[in-house]
């Protein structure tokens, strides 16, 4: 294959877990002995990036360090990636499937002439082709897909492959952003963060997700308290986001985010396939629902039939006793 480029998503000088999964997997399972794994990362300051990226298996690092990467702007990231692709001339480029990556994947594929397999859960690569498995039909079915071409992009769903250390001593080259925000026709005006969004949902080890069964501020505080015990992220179903009790950024599912924590609590969530599409990659799933026939129990490892307003307070007390 020659060179494999891995895009490492980061924020504030910290690599994202989903990207370390991808980097580790590529260096351990995809790259052959003659292949070179090049990581590229776009951030403001290097922070611990060089060290972390080396630990997870990169042979070379392209660091694009520039204030231009402070916030996500598709034209800026796309230009940086296209620059890294030109510089590396890889046959394969692998990404973690984050919102930022989804925003640019199609455009850079057209601009570089690449074939793309988005949002896969597993893949293998040969000379001039990649075969992969990706969930379709709101994850009801898995499609085995094949891409052919001299340049192939693959984006991987979080939680699909393992982040195991594979230390290397990479060489690092630093670049500026080839395109700055001021060069673009579009402008980023503002970023609105929900006040209660302290933990990055897609990175969280524990996610507590609320559904329409959470009806009011009292219920919301239970969700927050349970999540707080683990430093976990707060997720939500589409139905409860529509009530404005939780921010849209918390939505998990086909439209919302894909999460893959070690532990997922579904509180008052029925388990519609469009919700399950975003959380079935979780390692352990606990469902609390007052309806014994709720479909969520088909996906859960442990289930409690009951009113979340009585179960969750007891659960919080019991967990505290074990902490």
């Amino acid at each position: 294959m020659g060179k494999i480029l891995v895009h490492v998503g980061s924020q504030g000088g910290e690599a994202k877990r989903s990207s370390l999964e991808v980097l580790s997997h590529v260096s351990r399972k995809i790259a052959g002995s003659d292949d070179v794994v090049v990581a590229c990362v776009f951030d403001v300051n290097p922070g611990r990036l060089e060290q972390t990226i080396g630990e997870y298996g990169a042979d070379d690092i392209l660091m694009y360090m520039d204030p231009a990467y402070e916030s996500h702007l598709n034209g800026v990231l796309a230009a940086g990636l296209e620059d890294a692709i030109r510089a590396t001339a890889p046959s394969l480029v692998v990404f973690a499937s984050s919102e930022s990556v989804k925003d640019i994947l199609g455009a850079i594929a057209v601009n570089t002439g690449a074939a793309v397999l988005p949002d896969v859960v597993s893949f293998s690569a040969g000379s001039g082709f990649v075969e992969a498995v990706r969930p379709v039909m709101a994850a009801k079915s898995l499609a085995r897909v094949r891409a052919e071409g001299e340049l192939i992009f693959v984006s991987v769903r979080s939680g699909s492959v393992e982040a195991i250390k594979n230390p290397k001593n990479p060489g690092t080259t630093t670049f500026e952003a080839p395109i700055k925000p001021a060069d673009l026709k579009q402008q980023l005006k503002e970023i609105i963060k929900a006040a209660d969004e302290t933990v990055d949902l897609s990175e969280a080890r524990v996610v507590v997700a609320a559904g329409r069964g959470v009806k009011d501020e009292v219920g919301k505080r239970l969700v927050e308290e349970l999540a707080g015990l683990f430093g976990g992220g707060i997720g939500a179903s589409r139905a409860v986001v529509e009530t404005d009790l939780f921010p849209a950024t918390a939505q998990i599912g086909q439209t919302g985010k894909v999460v893959s924590p070690d532990l997922y609590f579904a509180l008052g969530i029925s388990g519609a396939i469009q919700h399950v599409a975003g959380m079935s990659n979780s390692r352990m799933i606990v469902a609390i629902n007052k309806d014994a026939d709720a479909p969520i129990f088909e996906y859960a490892d442990y289930g409690i039939v009951g009113d979340l307003y009585t179960v969750v307070p007891l659960l919080i007390e019991e967990i505290k006793r074990h902490k």
Binding site: V116, R144, E197, S202, A248, T255, I273, Y302, V311
Partner: protein, 243 residues
């Protein structure tokens, strides 16, 4: 103002996958709704484009019944084997022959969840674009639009000049159900049906479908609420690896 909305017919995934019922892609329904809201009470035009088999005409009629003005239908029995790349190439060549100010796509196809076409089309047309929009409004001067998009952390508010392309999330709105009057009017609206040969080879293809591995059924915890909770926490302590 002239809108072009790219719409797709997809299998209804909410029921049985094999029910065979075909629907307007939910994200495209939101794109049509967004265009309708922005053009309310103006003499703007909402033009639709769909690539699909003859039977996809009913999906075009549905979007026309919601209130879109006109449509072109590239009739192809093989559109299922076209990947996002070849769909985007075809849409781009159509865009080259028409006038538009704003192109709207869905953020993804409900059946394949690829989410590539919008960005690909924008790249072909060299348009500024935004994906995963949850809000859309004109700039005060009407020479651009303000897009609220769902990013990795938080919502990003972007200003785009015209012409531009936006891909829509179904979190943007609740698409209207066509009224009887809308349905009657749609019958009179023009659909420019064009037979079409797909010349661009798809660089990706589906080999086959598999069923996801069945999960073990949940262990349902029994007893009084206190007992259920105690049993659950015991299991969490032993198995979750986070205590």
């Amino acid at each position: 103002m002239k809108f072009l909305v790219c719409i797709k017919q997809v299998p209804d995934v909410s029921g049985n996958v094999n029910s065979g019922r075909m629907v307007l892609n939910a994200y495209d329904a939101s794109a049509v709704e967004a265009a309708l809201v922005l053009t309310e009470g103006t003499d703007s035009e909402i033009h639709l484009v769909l690539i699909g088999p003859d039977s996809a005409k009913e999906t075009i009629r549905k979007a026309l019944a919601m209130g879109a003005s006109s449509a072109v239908h590239f009739v192809s029995a093989e559109s299922d084997s076209m990947d996002s790349g070849s769909i985007a190439a075809q849409l781009a060549s159509y865009c080259a022959e028409i006038q538009f100010d704003i192109v709207l796509c869905g953020k993804q196809s409900q059946d394949t969840d690829a989410g590539l076409t919008g960005g690909m089309l924008a790249a072909h047309l060299k348009l500024p674009y935004a994906t995963n929009a949850v809000g859309l409004a004109y700039q005060d001067s009407y020479d651009g639009i303000v897009v609220t998009r769902q990013g990795d952390s938080g919502q990003e508010i972007l200003q785009l000049p015209l012409p531009c392309l936006v891909t829509c999330s179904n979190d943007m709105n609740n698409p209207r159900i066509p009224s009887l009057k809308g349905i009657m009017q749609a019958k009179k609206k023009s659909i420019d049906a064009r037979q079409f040969e797909n010349n661009s080879l798809s660089s990706t293809r589906i080999l086959n479908y598999e069923q996801p591995a069945a999960r073990e059924p949940a262990r349902m915890l029994e007893g009084e609420t206190e007992e259920k909770v105690t049993a659950l926490v015991l299991a969490l302590v032993q198995e979750s690896g986070i205590f």
